[in-house]
């Protein structure tokens, strides 16, 4: 392996005359495309819509919680708000976001391929996503679901009067979108790597998506069949989880969490892959401990399947099973910690530049660490018994999902925006937005740790007076966070029209995707590249970054 200097192209180069965005025009050329890059943009549009719908529910929740009394909405409506917020954000934003947008766009490019293994399946999986989303939106518009995103039985199967079956169908359908994406990635990485691209020369973004795909393929089918059972029980009065018939509601919880715990790793592993790419680029340094980071991704995927019972410590589950799940939950923190150490060691004595993607990466590392450490508190059986179903849990998972996963997503969108759009985003506004998001996020969710510890339960629309100050802080933070998310929506759209043209490699990054023009041609590479060295082979020369 030689240390190769990869200087960025300093003059803004005119974008190539024909590329994937302008090669064909018209609605049909987008809706019937097989180009993984166009499909990624179709997903980008869809998940953005769902993100803001989920955000709207969050806004209504926080508005209600400004005052201790339940005075904005009725309790049944509030139940629907937190349910729909969870369902939309988890199934229609967090799970697809990075894999279906950035993974679809860049995995073929990172391995030197012209497309994924199954391009038509890729398009089908977007249509499946949209159809599932429409079912769910239909349910939302007609009155929503009030069971919590967790659909616990027997409330969901027998007693709820809301649109459980329609929503269940929507999620069931969308699950197949996830399964097909994971299948496509696994087959692609195994069979379509460029000559010379061995497994240990793959970018860590690919490793993390491979691990994510394993989870998608192994876990999603279980929640799919579980949702099927809930629907069948509700529609045909079959009793599988019904205690009146001798059924066990805890069986539902086992089946549900077998997927839904690994699902959180589906949501965060791709973000970790993004962070690996950003940290190496903006420290101009090779990743510290490449193999450790690669194997840590796989370890997280595997161990993540062994811990689901930590969501059920107070459910009536056997205490012996609880102890097993508790110990295993401690173990799964180890590979995550390895990654945090390795990113930090990468930055040590690196040449750091504080571009927007790097700001988001910093945010990820700090906030994910806080979220992860609080996860250790929750893995401790004795502590969890006290804080379960309180705002402590809500804060914990938002630190990981928003402070972690979404920050990684935003970092990735900004990092690869020049490649995707051929334009540079406005760096000043982008840094400002990142800061607003960081401040807004912490103001929203840190008080929730305190609230939970003091005993405020989750999923309640009214609360005792003494919790009001912290709730007001949280709502104030949420407003700031909302503005922070609106800013990129505005300036990224703006940049598509008015942004400066981006060179092929504005950040001076190594990586096959930067070897093509911005935006790339439809077939990605005119000639299949041959890989001869390790990834992240930065030199120590001073290089000026454009953009």
């Amino acid at each position: 392996m030689s240390a190769v200097t990869v200087p960025p192209t300093t003059e803004p180069v005119a974008p190539p005359r024909v590329h994937y965005l302008n090669s064909r025009y018209g609605l049909k050329s987008w809706l019937l495309t097989r180009d993984h890059k166009r499909i990624a943009l179709l997903y980008l549009a869809s998940v953005t819509v769902f993100f803001f719908i989920g955000g709207l529910f969050a806004l209504l929740i926080r508005l209600e919680l400004l005052t201790p009394a339940g005075d904005l909405v009725q309790s049944e409506t509030y139940n629907k708000l937190f349910t729909m917020h969870g369902i939309v954000m988890i199934f229609f934003f967090l799970i697809p976001s990075i894999p279906a947008v950035l993974g679809n766009f860049f995995i073929p490019m990172m391995i030197g391929a012209r497309d994924l293994a199954f391009p038509r399946l890729n398009l089908l999986s977007w249509y499946i996503f949209v159809v599932g989303g429409l079912f769910t939106l239909w349910a939302v518009v007609h009155g929503g679901v009030d069971t919590g995103w967790t659909f616990y039985t027997p409330y969901s199967t027998t007693y709820s009067n809301s649109y459980v079956v329609v929503t269940a169908i929507g999620i069931f359908i969308t699950g197949f979108s996830s399964i097909l994406t994971g299948l496509n990635f696994i087959v692609t990485v195994h069979t379509m790597r460029a000559p010379g691209l061995t497994w240990f020369r793959l970018p860590l973004f690919v490793w993390s998506h491979y691990a994510t795909s394993l989870i998608m393929v192994l876990g999603t089918p279980v929640v799919a069949v579980t949702i099927l059972m809930v629907g069948v029980e509700r529609l045909f009065h079959l009793g599988i989880f019904d205690p009146k018939l001798g059924g066990d509601p805890i069986l539902f919880q086992h089946l549900f969490w077998f997927y839904s715990h690994p699902a959180v790793y589906i949501m965060v592993l791709p973000s970790m892959g993004v962070v690996s790419e950003i940290v190496t680029t903006f420290s101009r340094k090779n990743i510290f401990g490449y193999k450790f980071v690669a194997f840590a991704s796989i370890a997280i995927a595997v161990l993540g399947f062994l811990v689901w019972g930590h969501h059920m410590f107070v459910s009536g589950q056997s205490v012996y099973a609880g102890m097993i799940f508790s110990i295993l939950s401690f173990l799964v923190a180890i590979p995550s910690a390895v990654k945090v150490f390795n990113w930090t060691a990468t930055m040590y004595k690196g040449s750091i530049s504080y571009r927007t993607p790097m700001l988001y990466a910093f945010g990820f590392i700090g906030l994910f660490t806080i979220g992860g450490l609080t996860g250790l508190f929750l893995a401790t059986l004795g502590v969890d018994v006290h804080v379960t179903d309180t705002y402590f849990i809500v804060a914990h998972f938002h630190y990981i999902m928003v402070g972690g996963a979404i920050m990684g997503y935003m970092g990735g969108i900004h990092y690869w925006w020049p490649k995707i759009s051929g334009k540079l985003y406005p760096e000043g506004w982008a840094r400002f937005a990142a800061l607003v998001i960081f401040v807004g996020f912490n103001l929203t969710f840190f008080p929730q740790f305190v609230l939970g510890y003091l005993g405020m339960p989750r999923r309640y629309h009214a609360y005792p007076e003494e919790f009001q100050v912290l709730n007001v802080m949280s709502t104030a933070g949420a407003s700031i966070l909302g503005i922070g998310y609106l800013l990129p929506l505005i300036y990224l759209f703006w940049s598509m029209r008015y942004g400066k043209a981006a060179p092929a490699n504005p950040w001076g990054s190594t990586g096959l995707e930067w070897d093509t023009p911005s935006p790339p041609p439809t077939e990605n590479f005119a000639v299949t590249p041959v890989v001869r060295g390790e990834p992240y082979h930065y030199s120590h020369e001073e290089v000026e970054i454009v953009g």
């Binding site: 192994l218 069986l251 399947f305 056997s318 099973a321 097993i324």
Partner: protein, 102 residues
Amino acid sequence: MAQHVVPRKVYFAVFTALIVLTATTTGVSFLDLGPWNTVVALGIAFLKATLVVLFFMHVRYSPRLTQITIAGGLFWLAILIALTLSDFMTRGWLPTLQKLGP
């Protein structure tokens, strides 16, 4: 999948074995073997499935990746069942907890 073409007589041999095993499993189910009834029934089912996988689905002649993939799927199912049973089968261990069922 391998270019290797499996000769028809292998298929017919496997087919015969599968029919014999089916007849056996039905017949044995009428004999009282106590708890072994379940073991025998599942054992025969696994044997039949293995024959189908190895010969009808050509796994005997397939690359290692295929075999690892199948093993992975089965192992993951085993995780689901084993850890869930670790709850249901230990519920009665503490005397104060109610057991589910009669």
